[in-house]
Point group: C2
Chain length 111, copies 2
Amino acid sequence: MVVDQLSPSETDRVFHALADATRRDIVRKVLVEECSVSALARHYPMSFTAVHKHVAVLESAGLVTKVRQGRESLVRGDIDRVRAVHRALDALEQLWRDRVAQMEQVLAEDP
Amino acid sequence: MVVDQLSPSETDRVFHALADATRRDIVRKVLVEECSVSALARHYPMSFTAVHKHVAVLESAGLVTKVRQGRESLVRGDIDRVRAVHRALDALEQLWRDRVAQMEQVLAEDP
DNA sequence: CTGATCTACAACCATTCGGTTATATGTTAG
DNA sequence: CTAACATATAACCGAATGGTTGTAGATCAG
């Protein structure tokens, strides 16, 4: 288990990367099966260059990695980054639970 | 339990809203304790207007709600939206688990 | 070898973003 | 009533975003 903590700027990048439907779809695809950039590009109504840029955004967020294989470069999803975002949200939910617990305690103390 | 499914454009907005450290901090604060916009603004090195805009972004993403109380409007975090994002990430992780399960099955079939 | 394919990057463009200042309106305190 | 405070909104600005076209280098197929 990789327990990677995201820095604030990494968190910025990863949420920004996920704030686009095309990029979310790319992540879904490459989590299921690694895929070349041009193979990805065929699925979207935009140029190869646009998809190439989307992959670059995902890569700089750490959500995908690219490995060159011959003339194509294969993109694969990084599940550890997805889990890191997951944990960042867990932290938010924990704040809420702490608050609820505290409110309950105050209510219990003073009837 | 509110099992709210996010539309693609809602998902865009909620991830975009979380892609900024100030906005994430505001969400943390108002999940713990509701807070007026100007009280929030005192915590950040920027104008009231800037913080007001950040709150508007969070509100349009559904991550916070505002309720007017006298001359101030109180901002509170909406934990259900946080949970909805959480579930969106669960869906990504599930793709990964399905893939791993399928790979294991293929390996088991052919020794 | 040659042509097709894939990646990469530069330059450009319209729009959005994240901040500012200024102004108007509503609400409370004294 | 008046002054102080809180919110809201408009106008502006520089930087980043998301797309385009064009060009060039690498690799593979025939």
